[in-house]
Symmetry: C2
Subunit: 441 residues, 2 copies
């Protein structure tokens, strides 16, 4: 298309922009998430996209801080939110007196991270979060309820083969504490992350260099080598003979959460204990989750979260423990689309195109209104020109039904219905038309 003034009309790179038919599919996924959150009794909140830089920064730092879109307007130092959790913590502290605890909230909105643009990474993306925030205490059973929300959503998405991986941060932390090597935790984890690349020998050499004795290295590998189903993993953990309260607590919690997940009717095939997940994040303090699509492990986790002891420690001394998850829908949608896993069923939600063949549009408007009241999305064709041109519109937009209303139809108060799916055409009374369309749609 010819362009004047050489103004760029492309959206910025790293910012997803969809065609309408893709947007409809995207919104359908968003609706599934929102509806599931609501049927589980989560209430919506919608915090501003812009916050004071100081407020957001209070919790950020490191890599995140570099990614923040920040600027000054007048005297205000502003920043665009980079997640929905920091705004949640600010919100809970600000509105504490008006909230009922446990506070079950969902939030769906765009967040912004000025990362280096690369395939599959977005600078603007939707997060869809739920969190349950307790006042001082929060029962462990909420940790088991959260995966049942994940399960419901991914089933509604149409997936069968997915695994909700659970772990408990206390196990890993307790292991290091129990072996008296807590001070090397970050270095050890960095080494372990290279396991696939440099092999057990390579990792052992690195741990040796840190000054960790062989006996402890063996214990670490005993831990890393634990495999099996949930019960086998829990048994093996107990047999590791680590003397540390946190370690025991972690096993106890994980064991209870897994047991309750069964009571929550999550099929065995859709969850697993995975001792390796979320080891790098210091935010979480207990249960952690990741969710994997079994047939597409390369996508990575499509829904992650966990338990934290203290939501808002930067803003308040009050203890607000929580547990929650986030679905990064923009990235998930992009990954599914690139694998042709998104059904572009509809170019539009319009089911009926009413084509008035006369100047008098009263009957056309009237039937359109009735159909809309019956929640049947309906358009009236106001395009000038030959019938063929007007039908091209219906075909391009894949509108399944067209109703023609000409002089004959107006005189006899009937409707000519063309059914593009079955290729039929018939003349119907108003009542028959409505019944037929309601049945068909």
């Amino acid at each position: 298309m010819s362009k004047k003034n050489e103004v760029t009309t492309r959206a910025l790179s790293g910012f997803m922009e969809l065609l309408p038919q893709e947007q409809i599919a995207f919104n359908n996924m968003l609706d599934i998430i929102r509806n599931t959150y609501e049927t589980f009794g989560f209430v919506p909140i919608d915090t501003p996209i812009l916050e004071r830089f100081g407020t957001l920064l209070a919790k950020a730092g490191g890599e995140t801080e570099k990614q923040i879109y920040q600027f000054t307007k007048g005297k205000s130092e502003l920043a665009m939110r980079f997640d929905l959790t920091v705004p949640l913590s600010r919100y809970v502290v600000e509105h504490y007196g008006d909230l009922t605890f446990p506070f079950r909230r969902y939030a769906i909105g765009k967040v912004f991270r000025g990362e280096r643009a690369q395939s599959g990474r977005f600078r603007e993306f939707y997060q869809c979060d739920i969190d349950v925030i307790g006042n001082e205490v929060l029962d462990l059973r909420f940790d088991a309820e959260i995966p049942s929300v994940i399960y419901t959503i991914f089933r509604e998405f149409g997936f069968d083969a997915f695994t909700i991986r659970v772990n408990n941060r206390k196990i890993f932390n307790g292991l290091f504490e129990g072996l008296n090597i807590d001070e090397f935790r970050v270095d050890i984890m960095r080494s372990i992350d290279k396991l696939e690349k440099i092999g057990r020998n390579g990792v052992e050499k690195e741990l040796n260099k840190l000054g960790i004795v062989s006996e402890k290295i063996i214990r670490i590998f005993d831990f890393l080598n634990i495999k099996g189903n949930s019960q086998e993993i829990l048994n093996a953990l107990k047999q590791l003979d680590i003397t540390n309260e946190k370690f025991d607590e972690g096993i106890e919690e994980l064991s209870k959460v897994v047991d309750m997940m069964r009571q929550f009717d999550i099929p065995e095939k859709n969850f697993a204990i995975d001792l390796t997940i979320a080891r790098g994040l210091d935010y979480y303090t207990g249960t952690v989750y990741e969710t994997q699509l079994d047939e597409y492990p390369e996508i990575g986790s499509v829904c992650s979260g966990g338990r934290y002891d203290d939501l808002a420690s930067t803003y308040t001394d009050r203890k607000l423990p929580g547990v929650g998850i986030s679905i990064g829908l923009t990235r998930l949608f992009d990954q599914l689309r690139s694998r042709d896993l998104i059904n572009i069923d509809f170019v539009t939600k319009t089911k009926v195109l009413v084509v008035p063949m006369t100047e008098d549009i009263k009957q056309s408007v009237s039937i359109a209104t009735v159909l809309r009241k019956n929640n049947i999305s309906t358009e009236i064709s106001f395009v000038e020109g030959k019938l063929k041109k007007r039908l091209t519109y219906a075909n391009k937009k894949k509108i399944p039904f067209v109703i023609f209303i000409g002089e004959d139809e107006i005189e006899k108060k009937v409707y000519m219905l063309k059914d593009f799916v079955n290729g039929t055409q018939e003349i119907l009374s108003r009542e028959d038309l409505l019944q037929k369309l309601k049945r068909a749609l």
Copy 2:
């Protein structure tokens, strides 16, 4: 609440932040808008909140430009969108080849304007837009369809007394052209806007100073004094005896649009010709709309829009005429709330709280799952403590039904249902429980 580090936890001023019960009411209004747009066959698009500054600026200027939140990140000059129309024009040009025309799109999202903060003005607010974009041409009947969308939405909101005011820009422009005073248009309109303040005499003096002869001033006042119902106004306009093609065209279009609005079944009391509206905006070129709540005229227009000849003239030479409207929901909600016109019906959408009285939660989870599948929003109480404390939660959140499941209930596979609305309590089988709740909710 005690605050550490003196970090501000208040949202920025000019940024609306709602409590959950208000958010539910807000979202209900958003859903009405979205659902209405969809039943009228508009498809969704969702453009980025951040755009290149140069792209947004191409269409902005003046006051708007000063309000834009703009900043530099790396090498990019970025800006936050200040409306949904400029992104739409960019979108249509960029995706021209992939769209079907007339392109009927809706967009609902936040826009940003760094205005001086004042009561009732927001720096971040939702716009809810529809537009129909034609390729080269766009039938006038779309101008009449748009008010029927407005009508449907405000009826769904629960309003009865509202007026969709229509006018046509060509009438005012044609009048000035016909009187050969087009060059003074901006000054004349500025004077006329002061009519209530300085009276007819004051305005006449100002117009005199501009060098406009008395005979023309009389004609302007003849125009401004036109009153009556739609037909009377149209007749009076024709009798003004202005010789100008644009003027005649404006009357012709306005007359047709009003006639078709009747065919669209918009009651006479809900629309009116108003020759004074939208005179200041140079963006619109034909039909213009404003919508007023009759009992609250001080709120001003709650839904405005109009017809423009050329959506994307800054980006393309192709002619893309359009017609559309925008609802500024944040401001509307704020105005209604301050007048106590928002029903805070629900603190939560949760209808049922299931209270397990034993360690075994299987039956509780099972009935919760069934209820959720029937779209009944359900929570399970995992709060430790006495029954009274757990019921306080239900009362605070105004959850109408509570199901107790203790040892007895598990043994007999029954459910004790407490109905807080009717104050009853009964023991029911699973099937009876489900039927009763489905009937009640």
